[in-house]
Protein backbone atom coordinates (compact mmCIF):
# COMPACT_ATOMS: atom_id res chain seq x y z
CA UNK A 1 0.00 0.00 0.00
CA UNK A 2 2.77 2.38 0.96
CA UNK A 3 4.70 1.48 -2.14
CA UNK A 4 1.63 1.93 -4.30
CA UNK A 5 1.12 5.43 -2.97
CA UNK A 6 4.77 6.32 -2.99
CA UNK A 7 5.29 5.87 -6.70
CA UNK A 8 2.64 8.29 -7.99
CA UNK A 9 3.39 10.73 -5.18
CA UNK A 10 7.03 10.76 -6.19
CA UNK A 11 6.00 11.27 -9.75
CA UNK A 12 3.79 14.22 -8.94
CA UNK A 13 6.42 15.79 -6.71
CA UNK A 14 8.99 15.30 -9.39
CA UNK A 15 6.83 17.06 -11.92
CA UNK A 16 6.15 19.88 -9.52
CA UNK A 17 9.86 20.43 -9.21
CA UNK A 18 9.87 20.89 -12.97
CA UNK A 19 12.42 18.22 -13.47
CA UNK A 20 13.21 17.01 -16.94
CA UNK A 21 9.94 15.10 -17.30
CA UNK A 22 7.98 18.07 -15.97
CA UNK A 23 8.29 19.64 -19.38
CA UNK A 24 6.46 16.82 -21.09
CA UNK A 25 2.89 18.09 -20.49
CA UNK A 26 3.34 21.42 -22.33
CA UNK A 27 5.12 19.88 -25.30
CA UNK A 28 2.47 17.16 -25.48
CA UNK A 29 -0.20 19.88 -25.47
CA UNK A 30 1.50 21.65 -28.36
CA UNK A 31 1.71 18.40 -30.31
CA UNK A 32 -1.93 17.59 -29.57
CA UNK A 33 -3.14 21.05 -30.63
CA UNK A 34 -1.28 21.16 -33.94
CA UNK A 35 -1.97 17.57 -34.96
CA UNK A 36 -5.63 17.98 -34.03
CA UNK A 37 -5.87 21.13 -36.12
CA UNK A 38 -4.49 19.11 -39.01
CA UNK A 39 -7.29 16.56 -38.53
CA UNK A 40 -10.30 18.77 -38.01
CA UNK A 41 -11.76 21.90 -39.52
CA UNK A 42 -13.96 23.62 -36.97
CA UNK A 43 -12.41 24.99 -33.80
CA UNK A 44 -14.72 23.11 -31.38
CA UNK A 45 -13.83 19.83 -33.07
CA UNK A 46 -10.15 20.74 -32.99
CA UNK A 47 -10.23 21.51 -29.28
CA UNK A 48 -12.17 18.34 -28.46
CA UNK A 49 -9.75 16.23 -30.44
CA UNK A 50 -6.77 18.00 -28.87
CA UNK A 51 -8.07 17.50 -25.34
CA UNK A 52 -8.68 13.83 -25.97
CA UNK A 53 -5.28 13.37 -27.60
CA UNK A 54 -3.51 15.19 -24.80
CA UNK A 55 -5.20 13.12 -22.11
CA UNK A 56 -4.32 9.93 -23.94
CA UNK A 57 -0.70 11.04 -24.31
CA UNK A 58 -0.37 12.12 -20.70
CA UNK A 59 -2.26 9.11 -19.40
CA UNK A 60 0.03 6.81 -21.27
CA UNK A 61 3.15 8.59 -20.09
CA UNK A 62 2.00 8.73 -16.48
CA UNK A 63 1.00 5.08 -16.50
CA UNK A 64 4.39 4.20 -17.89
CA UNK A 65 6.25 6.27 -15.33
CA UNK A 66 4.21 4.90 -12.45
CA UNK A 67 5.00 1.41 -13.63
CA UNK A 68 8.69 2.20 -13.86
CA UNK A 69 8.66 3.80 -10.41
CA UNK A 70 6.91 0.79 -8.99
CA UNK A 71 9.49 -1.45 -10.59
CA UNK A 72 12.38 0.44 -9.08
CA UNK A 73 10.75 0.89 -5.68
CA UNK A 74 9.34 -2.59 -5.25
CA UNK A 75 10.58 -5.15 -7.68
CA UNK A 76 14.24 -4.24 -8.07
CA UNK A 77 15.10 -3.93 -4.36
CA UNK A 78 13.88 -7.48 -3.85
Amino acid sequence: MTIALHAPASLVLGLMELGEYGFLPPICLAIALVTSAAHRESMPAILRHAARSWFVLMGGIFAFMITISFFFEWVLPR
Binding site: A30, V34, F64
Partner: protein, 289 residues
Protein backbone atom coordinates in the same frame (compact mmCIF):
# COMPACT_ATOMS: atom_id res chain seq x y z
CA UNK B 1 -39.82 4.75 -42.67
CA UNK B 2 -39.77 1.02 -42.81
CA UNK B 3 -43.13 -0.72 -43.18
CA UNK B 4 -44.19 -3.77 -41.26
CA UNK B 5 -42.66 -2.91 -37.93
CA UNK B 6 -43.06 -5.80 -35.55
CA UNK B 7 -43.49 -3.86 -32.34
CA UNK B 8 -45.27 -0.54 -31.90
CA UNK B 9 -42.64 0.75 -29.51
CA UNK B 10 -39.71 -0.27 -31.67
CA UNK B 11 -37.62 2.71 -32.67
CA UNK B 12 -38.24 3.98 -36.09
CA UNK B 13 -35.22 3.10 -38.15
CA UNK B 14 -33.43 5.86 -39.93
CA UNK B 15 -34.23 6.10 -43.62
CA UNK B 16 -30.77 4.91 -44.57
CA UNK B 17 -30.32 2.26 -41.89
CA UNK B 18 -29.96 -1.34 -42.91
CA UNK B 19 -28.99 -3.84 -40.24
CA UNK B 20 -27.71 -6.29 -42.79
CA UNK B 21 -25.57 -3.68 -44.43
CA UNK B 22 -24.39 -2.48 -41.04
CA UNK B 23 -23.30 -5.99 -40.15
CA UNK B 24 -21.39 -6.18 -43.39
CA UNK B 25 -19.79 -2.88 -42.55
CA UNK B 26 -18.02 -4.33 -39.53
CA UNK B 27 -14.48 -3.11 -39.93
CA UNK B 28 -15.65 0.15 -41.42
CA UNK B 29 -16.79 3.19 -39.48
CA UNK B 30 -14.17 2.54 -36.82
CA UNK B 31 -15.46 -0.83 -35.72
CA UNK B 32 -12.90 -3.59 -35.47
CA UNK B 33 -13.32 -7.19 -36.45
CA UNK B 34 -12.13 -9.95 -34.17
CA UNK B 35 -8.91 -10.41 -36.08
CA UNK B 36 -8.22 -6.69 -36.03
CA UNK B 37 -8.74 -6.54 -32.30
CA UNK B 38 -6.37 -9.46 -31.77
CA UNK B 39 -3.78 -7.87 -34.04
CA UNK B 40 -3.96 -4.57 -32.18
CA UNK B 41 -3.79 -6.32 -28.85
CA UNK B 42 -0.64 -8.18 -29.86
CA UNK B 43 0.92 -5.14 -31.50
CA UNK B 44 0.12 -2.88 -28.58
CA UNK B 45 1.37 -5.37 -26.06
CA UNK B 46 4.55 -5.85 -28.05
CA UNK B 47 5.22 -2.14 -28.26
CA UNK B 48 4.68 -1.71 -24.55
CA UNK B 49 6.99 -4.62 -23.79
CA UNK B 50 9.68 -3.37 -26.17
CA UNK B 51 9.42 0.16 -24.82
CA UNK B 52 9.64 -0.93 -21.21
CA UNK B 53 12.49 -3.31 -21.92
CA UNK B 54 14.43 -0.76 -23.88
CA UNK B 55 13.81 1.83 -21.25
CA UNK B 56 15.20 -0.36 -18.52
CA UNK B 57 17.93 -2.27 -20.28
CA UNK B 58 19.45 0.76 -21.95
CA UNK B 59 19.39 2.80 -18.74
CA UNK B 60 17.17 5.22 -20.61
CA UNK B 61 15.50 6.10 -17.30
CA UNK B 62 18.16 8.76 -17.03
CA UNK B 63 16.27 11.84 -18.19
CA UNK B 64 19.35 13.08 -19.99
CA UNK B 65 19.31 10.00 -22.19
CA UNK B 66 17.40 10.84 -25.32
CA UNK B 67 16.66 7.19 -26.03
CA UNK B 68 14.14 7.37 -23.20
CA UNK B 69 11.94 9.54 -25.40
CA UNK B 70 11.75 6.79 -28.01
CA UNK B 71 10.95 4.22 -25.35
CA UNK B 72 8.18 6.40 -23.98
CA UNK B 73 6.81 6.91 -27.48
CA UNK B 74 6.75 3.14 -28.04
CA UNK B 75 4.90 2.58 -24.81
CA UNK B 76 2.35 5.33 -25.46
CA UNK B 77 1.63 4.11 -28.98
CA UNK B 78 1.36 0.57 -27.69
CA UNK B 79 -1.13 1.61 -25.05
CA UNK B 80 -3.23 3.37 -27.65
CA UNK B 81 -3.42 0.15 -29.65
CA UNK B 82 -4.28 -1.80 -26.51
CA UNK B 83 -7.03 0.67 -25.75
CA UNK B 84 -8.45 0.25 -29.25
CA UNK B 85 -8.36 -3.50 -28.87
CA UNK B 86 -10.22 -3.30 -25.58
CA UNK B 87 -12.82 -0.84 -26.88
CA UNK B 88 -13.33 -2.77 -30.07
CA UNK B 89 -13.24 0.32 -32.24
CA UNK B 90 -10.84 2.93 -33.37
CA UNK B 91 -11.37 6.58 -33.83
CA UNK B 92 -12.95 6.67 -37.25
CA UNK B 93 -11.24 8.02 -40.30
CA UNK B 94 -10.72 11.73 -40.26
CA UNK B 95 -14.13 13.24 -40.69
CA UNK B 96 -13.01 16.50 -42.10
CA UNK B 97 -15.10 15.96 -45.20
CA UNK B 98 -18.17 15.81 -42.99
CA UNK B 99 -17.47 19.17 -41.41
CA UNK B 100 -18.71 22.35 -42.87
CA UNK B 101 -15.92 24.08 -44.78
CA UNK B 102 -14.82 26.89 -42.52
CA UNK B 103 -13.72 29.20 -45.26
CA UNK B 104 -14.17 29.96 -48.93
CA UNK B 105 -13.04 27.45 -51.53
CA UNK B 106 -9.32 27.57 -52.21
CA UNK B 107 -7.92 27.61 -55.73
CA UNK B 108 -5.24 25.00 -56.13
CA UNK B 109 -3.06 27.58 -57.88
CA UNK B 110 -2.58 29.32 -54.53
CA UNK B 111 -1.19 26.19 -52.92
CA UNK B 112 2.49 26.76 -53.60
CA UNK B 113 2.39 30.34 -52.39
CA UNK B 114 0.55 29.30 -49.27
CA UNK B 115 3.08 26.58 -48.46
CA UNK B 116 5.92 29.05 -48.87
CA UNK B 117 4.23 31.63 -46.67
CA UNK B 118 3.46 28.95 -44.12
CA UNK B 119 7.10 28.00 -44.04
CA UNK B 120 8.10 31.61 -43.46
CA UNK B 121 5.52 32.29 -40.78
CA UNK B 122 3.47 29.50 -39.16
CA UNK B 123 -0.16 29.78 -40.18
CA UNK B 124 0.39 32.42 -42.86
CA UNK B 125 -0.82 30.13 -45.61
CA UNK B 126 -4.03 29.37 -43.75
CA UNK B 127 -4.54 33.09 -43.06
CA UNK B 128 -4.15 33.85 -46.74
CA UNK B 129 -7.00 31.54 -47.72
CA UNK B 130 -9.37 32.62 -44.99
CA UNK B 131 -8.82 29.91 -42.37
CA UNK B 132 -8.17 32.54 -39.72
CA UNK B 133 -8.86 30.51 -36.59
CA UNK B 134 -6.51 27.69 -37.62
CA UNK B 135 -3.89 30.22 -38.66
CA UNK B 136 -3.96 31.85 -35.24
CA UNK B 137 -3.83 28.48 -33.52
CA UNK B 138 -0.84 27.33 -35.56
CA UNK B 139 1.01 30.60 -35.12
CA UNK B 140 0.42 30.86 -31.38
CA UNK B 141 1.23 27.24 -30.58
CA UNK B 142 4.30 26.90 -32.76
CA UNK B 143 5.74 30.30 -31.92
CA UNK B 144 5.21 29.91 -28.19
CA UNK B 145 6.79 26.46 -28.16
CA UNK B 146 9.74 27.63 -30.23
CA UNK B 147 10.57 30.70 -28.19
CA UNK B 148 10.06 28.90 -24.90
CA UNK B 149 12.64 26.43 -26.10
CA UNK B 150 15.03 29.23 -26.98
CA UNK B 151 14.50 30.79 -23.56
CA UNK B 152 15.06 27.51 -21.72
CA UNK B 153 18.33 27.03 -23.56
CA UNK B 154 19.33 30.65 -22.90
CA UNK B 155 19.58 31.14 -26.64
CA UNK B 156 22.35 28.60 -26.99
CA UNK B 157 20.36 26.07 -29.01
CA UNK B 158 20.25 27.94 -32.34
CA UNK B 159 23.81 27.18 -33.28
CA UNK B 160 24.58 25.03 -36.29
CA UNK B 161 28.18 24.33 -35.29
CA UNK B 162 27.26 23.21 -31.78
CA UNK B 163 24.45 20.82 -32.72
CA UNK B 164 23.75 20.57 -36.42
CA UNK B 165 21.20 17.75 -36.15
CA UNK B 166 18.71 19.90 -34.32
CA UNK B 167 19.34 22.77 -36.71
CA UNK B 168 18.08 20.67 -39.60
CA UNK B 169 14.73 20.63 -37.79
CA UNK B 170 14.85 24.35 -37.03
CA UNK B 171 14.97 25.05 -40.76
CA UNK B 172 11.25 24.33 -41.03
CA UNK B 173 10.40 27.38 -38.95
CA UNK B 174 11.55 29.93 -41.49
CA UNK B 175 11.72 33.51 -40.30
CA UNK B 176 11.64 32.80 -36.58
CA UNK B 177 14.67 30.54 -36.81
CA UNK B 178 16.45 33.16 -38.86
CA UNK B 179 15.70 35.87 -36.32
CA UNK B 180 16.71 33.66 -33.42
CA UNK B 181 19.91 32.53 -35.06
CA UNK B 182 20.89 36.10 -35.95
CA UNK B 183 20.18 37.36 -32.45
CA UNK B 184 22.10 34.57 -30.70
CA UNK B 185 24.90 33.85 -33.14
CA UNK B 186 27.56 35.34 -30.85
CA UNK B 187 26.49 33.55 -27.68
CA UNK B 188 28.85 30.92 -26.32
CA UNK B 189 28.09 27.97 -24.08
CA UNK B 190 30.01 29.50 -21.21
CA UNK B 191 27.93 28.26 -18.28
CA UNK B 192 25.92 25.24 -17.29
CA UNK B 193 22.32 25.41 -18.48
CA UNK B 194 20.02 23.06 -16.62
CA UNK B 195 17.32 22.84 -19.29
CA UNK B 196 19.50 23.02 -22.37
CA UNK B 197 18.28 19.66 -23.71
CA UNK B 198 14.68 20.62 -23.04
CA UNK B 199 15.25 23.79 -25.02
CA UNK B 200 16.60 21.81 -27.96
CA UNK B 201 13.55 19.55 -27.81
CA UNK B 202 10.98 22.34 -27.63
CA UNK B 203 12.44 24.34 -30.51
CA UNK B 204 12.90 21.28 -32.72
CA UNK B 205 9.38 19.98 -32.06
CA UNK B 206 7.93 23.43 -32.77
CA UNK B 207 9.70 23.62 -36.12
CA UNK B 208 8.58 20.13 -37.09
CA UNK B 209 5.02 21.01 -36.11
CA UNK B 210 5.23 23.80 -38.67
CA UNK B 211 5.95 21.09 -41.21
CA UNK B 212 2.71 19.44 -40.11
CA UNK B 213 0.92 22.78 -40.54
CA UNK B 214 2.27 23.13 -44.08
CA UNK B 215 1.13 19.63 -44.96
CA UNK B 216 -2.29 20.44 -43.53
CA UNK B 217 -2.44 23.46 -45.81
CA UNK B 218 -1.79 21.26 -48.83
CA UNK B 219 -4.46 18.82 -47.68
CA UNK B 220 -6.89 21.68 -47.12
CA UNK B 221 -6.30 22.99 -50.64
CA UNK B 222 -6.78 19.60 -52.23
CA UNK B 223 -9.90 18.89 -50.19
CA UNK B 224 -11.35 22.27 -51.07
CA UNK B 225 -10.71 21.49 -54.71
CA UNK B 226 -12.52 18.17 -54.36
CA UNK B 227 -15.43 19.85 -52.60
CA UNK B 228 -15.72 22.32 -55.44
CA UNK B 229 -15.83 19.49 -57.92
CA UNK B 230 -18.62 17.79 -55.99
CA UNK B 231 -20.56 20.99 -55.56
CA UNK B 232 -20.07 21.49 -51.84
CA UNK B 233 -19.15 24.98 -50.75
CA UNK B 234 -19.02 26.94 -47.52
CA UNK B 235 -22.34 28.50 -46.50
CA UNK B 236 -21.24 32.06 -46.94
CA UNK B 237 -24.51 33.83 -47.73
CA UNK B 238 -24.53 35.44 -44.30
CA UNK B 239 -20.80 36.02 -44.00
CA UNK B 240 -18.66 38.86 -45.14
CA UNK B 241 -15.87 37.98 -47.47
CA UNK B 242 -12.87 37.10 -45.37
CA UNK B 243 -10.44 36.42 -48.10
CA UNK B 244 -9.14 38.27 -51.13
CA UNK B 245 -10.37 35.31 -53.10
CA UNK B 246 -13.91 36.59 -52.73
CA UNK B 247 -13.08 40.13 -53.68
CA UNK B 248 -14.76 41.91 -56.49
CA UNK B 249 -11.91 41.49 -58.89
CA UNK B 250 -11.43 37.83 -58.17
CA UNK B 251 -12.31 35.55 -61.01
CA UNK B 252 -12.81 32.86 -58.45
CA UNK B 253 -15.82 34.65 -56.92
CA UNK B 254 -17.87 34.01 -60.05
CA UNK B 255 -16.75 30.46 -60.38
CA UNK B 256 -18.41 29.04 -57.28
CA UNK B 257 -21.08 26.44 -57.99
CA UNK B 258 -24.52 27.09 -56.49
CA UNK B 259 -25.08 25.80 -52.97
CA UNK B 260 -26.99 22.57 -52.79
CA UNK B 261 -30.22 23.33 -50.97
CA UNK B 262 -31.70 19.88 -51.39
CA UNK B 263 -32.76 18.46 -48.06
CA UNK B 264 -31.94 14.92 -49.19
CA UNK B 265 -28.40 15.80 -50.00
CA UNK B 266 -26.20 13.10 -48.55
CA UNK B 267 -23.21 15.35 -48.90
CA UNK B 268 -24.32 17.86 -46.33
CA UNK B 269 -22.25 17.17 -43.21
CA UNK B 270 -23.86 17.05 -39.84
CA UNK B 271 -22.92 19.23 -36.92
CA UNK B 272 -21.24 16.45 -35.00
CA UNK B 273 -17.87 15.49 -36.21
CA UNK B 274 -16.90 12.92 -33.63
CA UNK B 275 -19.57 10.32 -34.08
CA UNK B 276 -19.91 7.66 -36.65
CA UNK B 277 -21.94 9.17 -39.36
CA UNK B 278 -23.57 8.01 -42.52
CA UNK B 279 -21.62 6.48 -45.30
CA UNK B 280 -21.11 9.83 -46.96
CA UNK B 281 -17.56 9.86 -45.67
CA UNK B 282 -16.84 6.95 -47.94
CA UNK B 283 -18.15 8.63 -51.05
CA UNK B 284 -15.84 8.46 -54.04
CA UNK B 285 -13.46 11.34 -54.35
CA UNK B 286 -13.65 12.27 -50.70
CA UNK B 287 -10.24 12.92 -49.38
CA UNK B 288 -9.42 11.37 -46.06
CA UNK B 289 -6.22 11.58 -44.17
Amino acid sequence: METGQEHPSAPTPLPDSDPQRDAQDAGKDGRLTGKERLFRFLLGGGLVAIGCSGFLLSKAYDPANRAGVLAIAAVVIGMIYLGQAVRGRVEGPVHREEEEPTGPPIPVEKMSLGVFLGWLIPGAGHWMVGRRAKAILYFATISATFWIGVALAHGRNLNYDRDSVYFYAYVFNGVQTLIGWFATRNLELDHAIRFLQVGYLYAAVAALLNLVAMMDFVATCLRSHEQRIHGRTAPDTDREATSPLEGEGSSFAHDRPPADKSGASANRPGASTDKSGPSSRNEPGAITS
